[in-house]
Symmetry: D2
Subunit: 360 residues, 4 copies
């Protein structure tokens, strides 16, 4: 298998390339009886769509999700939900000038090394276009989780060196979609937007960090050994194009603390719930949710496609120049937000179903 299936019980399988006929995704394992809001799926697609604002790529892509199966009279039936998204434009163009060149820090070379040949018309299966299918599936998972009172909210925490510098508790997360950057700190958002436009003007790109906050997960989800909840979140998020790092709770900064500073003390709140006074654990202890907010951060590198000549080689190993053109993202962060939401939702939906067999 090529690793195109995610999850064990809420099992999502995708197919599709950037320049093929279309993409698709099958969700096998969504329980029967969920009210499915098709509009809400399409709304998540719009958050990922190119051309949605002036700080993302102006490329046009079809993003209409067609549901072929798995629902009846507005509810999930328990059988696989099949969805397809046709690519808008597969006209054959002239790719002769680039078809045997390896674009730096793209997957052109590694695909050729792996498969012996590749679809040279674009990233093919390694294109971020593939994430459209993830977002469609994630939108279904988000509805499943919403029915349980769970909310997943990702936002842009950093662009280049510009950070919100604030803990998520100090931000109003309802503001995430109030600006094009998807940063709930309006002042930082404005700075970030300026930076992105400046980078774009230079034909260059820049990276950043997405933070995700998940509330409403009850204690007891996740597994104690290999499938720890944060390990599954880490894998899911690291599998997003351009993601280079993942940390949850205190993360890399926590390594400098002492145990006596780091530990989260338990207490019983007025409602009788078990809580912790601090949350350096990031809502997960021993791989299992403890009922506190789950939060993590994901690092995204600058997009590899730049509008500058770059040294490279072709498939014969000869030196060539790769010349950037086309309409690419100066900064992937605003569009990465709904993808992080989607991946977090897929992981949590899976662990929700698994948790139902914790006990007899």
């Amino acid at each position: 298998m090529s690793g195109s299936t995610h999850g064990t019980l809420f099992r999502v399988t995708t197919f599709g390339e950037s320049h093929g006929i279309g993409l698709g995704v099958t969700i096998d394992g969504c329980p029967a009886g969920l009210d499915l809001d098709v509009e809400a799926i399409q709304r998540e697609m719009a958050r990922r769509r190119p051309g949605q604002s002036k700080i993302v790529t102006q490329r046009q892509e079809g993003d209409l999700v067609e549901i072929l199966s798995g629902t009846f009279e507005g509810k999930t039936t328990g059988t696989p939900i099949g969805m397809v998204i046709y690519n808008q434009d597969q006209r054959s163009k002239d790719y002769s000038h680039i078809h045997d060149k390896y674009r730096p820090s793209h997957a052109d070379y590694t695909f050729t090394a792996k498969y012996g040949h590749r679809d040279y018309r674009g990233g093919g299966r390694s294109s971020a276009r593939e994430t459209a299918a993830r977002v469609a599936a994630g939108a279904v998972a988000q509805q499943l989780l919403a029915s349980l009172g769970i909310k997943i909210r990702s936002y842009v925490d950093q662009v280049g060196a510009i950070q919100t510098g604030k803990d998520h508790g100090a931000l109003d997360l309802s503001l995430i979609d109030s600006n094009d950057v998807r940063c709930p700190d309006p002042a930082a958002a404005a700075e970030m937007e300026t930076k992105i436009l400046e980078v774009r003007k230079a034909g260059d790109t820049i990276g950043g960090v997405v933070k995700c906050v998940i509330s409403g997960v009850p204690a007891g989800w996740g597994e104690p050994v290999f499938d720890k909840l944060h390990a599954d979140l880490g894998k899911a998020v690291l599998s997003i194009n351009a993601c280079k790092g993942f940390e949850y709770g205190s993360g890399f900064a926590g390594v400098s603390l002492r145990g006596s500073e780091h530990n989260d003390a338990f207490y019983t709140d007025e409602a009788g719930n078990t809580r912790t006074r601090t949350n350096r654990s990031g809502g997960i202890q021993g791989g299992i949710s403890n009922g506190e907010d789950i939060y993590f951060r994901a690092a995204f590198k600058p997009v590899a496609t730049i509008i500058t000549d770059q040294e490279s080689i072709n498939e014969s190993g000869e030196r060539v120049t790769v010349t950037g053109k086309g309409r690419h993202d100066p900064c992937v962060l605003p569009r990465a937000v709904p993808i992080v939401d989607a991946m977090a939702a897929l992981v949590l939906a899976d662990h929700f179903l698994r948790s139902r067999n914790n006990r007899l």
Copy 2:
């Protein structure tokens, strides 16, 4: 399932608790014909063992691996390799003073929330004791990889705020085991050791960072979508006890770079191999190895067990004081090194087997 299986083709299933009769691991999928060096497995166990130096826990644990199946006349047979490790001492002690208390930042509460009850004699399945089985399996994977010319070398890059501050290329990795810290920078190692002893004297603990460098992986391993090579490495490493973050290649630091600074230019070396001039990609592009060294860093929090009174609650939600005692690690980093080696080996062995079906 409780998530105790790792891998798809090199499939490792573990069992066992800290205070039960014993641990075990089954490797299903190791191809026939590998010369298996049993001593080498035991040597890796010794690197993880408690009591190996004065900066780790002085607790005694049995760590003798017994191989029950899957080898014949010194070679793997292709059938499952079953290994058991008996616990040395399961005498029943008096646990009444702690059996219903939730130790801060341990998995006591989350286990109870998940399973309804738990083994109160220690961490049970969430104890780091469980990683003994991983190291045994990882040692087999390392032998498989060594037969292909692959070397995995992890080391301690940071303890608390003390860092080597050097790139792995600037260090002599043959020095890793030359000191108790497992840091190949002798000056930094000495500082780290002093810090660990100081922290231990205070009854406290401290975190750090392990770096792992993998050489010899050919181009073409890894999958393009969910099972990207770095995503699988990330999950595997994040599943180790106390791990809070993972980054590969340029990682979190890379987000501030521009694409033009971050991209790795391709060239053809004198031997005719495709290479990159820099390696911010960390040896992986589009989730697939490109033949350069693979490297990543993993953050470990300070151990939760400290020798200080801590506020907590018991299973009835009543306020209690948790008093630390026993012989615990002041810093988990030196013993985390072989576990990171093991998990990296499990991931790579799996992707090696998968890569054999890349093409017809």
Copy 3:
């Protein structure tokens, strides 16, 4: 998950209901570099299609397979092959007369018991319509196997009490598609056809047996324990609608033999190959192919839909009469042949890929 994925390495996931928008299938794991003949896929679809002859249902169904991904310039790329088959006619009809009735020996009641509600417009996911997706995937697997010299040939061995009464070696298997029944024994085929037409006239249905012969599989495919080659074939074939039994090699008849009569003696043939003088083992010993022809038989019950009034109950448990109407198969056997071919191909393609990791 709802069990809509088949295989471990050649991994096939299907979706779709009989009265929904369409069906689909994703093949994840087909290696790169296979020349894919799209016409050949469509030819297998035609062998399964309703309306192909006067002894099958005259219902019309769309069966055009559209390939959305996974191929480029006529070859498989190694990434998932996504295929969709739109249903021709999803006009809403009036189902009020049957929508809450449980048709005898259909899955109406068990679906309701499982999922709480069901798509009452037909069999939904339990309809044999679902097998269209299997045949499309199986046709790809057959091409993979054909490139290795493997041939899968199923045929109708029995309809009601009418049997060929001949061993497959005594039949000319090139005649399978020479008659509507798909029985390579012309005399038996004529009798079977007469019987099917007689049964149909009576508004009734009849069962039968499909036999499958697979040649060209080298020794060494299959696994020794749970995933024995014949066990996987058995599961795959038993998962076809209406299949009630599976036997391979000597099967049920072999139980009356003595070991001295049943054992297959080994010898070395003139070409130096290891062979057996008889083949009661059915080409599989200890779950692993031995290089002889693999053969098995599958029993199919009479189709449950009959044109006769039947006693039943409705969802409220009240007694009702179910009146048959519509255009259904009097005998599923001729159309089951390509489905058995497809399932056998899926199993073998999977074990081919697995066998590549038998040895280092």
Copy 4:
């Protein structure tokens, strides 16, 4: 992987060979809170044990199951249950006279073809010794199912040509263990025993049929497509050594019936339950249980080891004579009964856990 894992949620992984140090099994996925009766596991082992009566092999085997993990204070903890069974006698003997010979209808040749070499001291991994681990795991599954009111009762229905000739409803299944054959029809049992002793005296072996009856399974277990309940039962049973065929409900005999004769009419019983008047469906419709008794039959060939000289070849392809010796089973049926029970239990335990996610 070598296919040594069974199940998706109640996941059982085995290891071990006939002449190695020992066998083992890990159950990952047994929910927390099951009262585990260790004696009952050992009782099932005794039903499979060699030497239990005069009609089975008189070979001695260790069959003591040691539970290493996964239980605490008499209850399952939700973490993996690890069990080992040491082989009693691994003294090195002289195997030089057979070590390169292929025993007819054994797995000697196919193992060599697959793995390149094999453990020549016996069947190795293909030995029926491996089923000891299955019985241990199945005994845990049976306890899980018993807590839900489910009973699995297999018995010998046929030995050679001697059949009970009775439907299971006409037999008193409490008599299964009242004789050495495990046939609840005392008259048939006596005849069978005489036949087995006669065959044994002749140094030969004979096959037979096991029937299994499962009561108490509620409607709604099983999956509609590939993982149909009977398909999973079929695979599990076909994976038992020497099994050549599987049929459920009306099976092969049902193919000659007409639909009007075969269909099971629904009715509502006095207690208000949905029932069927007949049960040719074998308790499963569309792959999903309907609440009636589930029943199936499994064909076992005569054991391949006979005390007679047989023609064969050695690893060099030279003609040799294989001379039988040792203490082998004249008829595997009495000992197959607990193994069929075990495999049926593993399948049902898995589908029980899966069924808990049928609906939201």
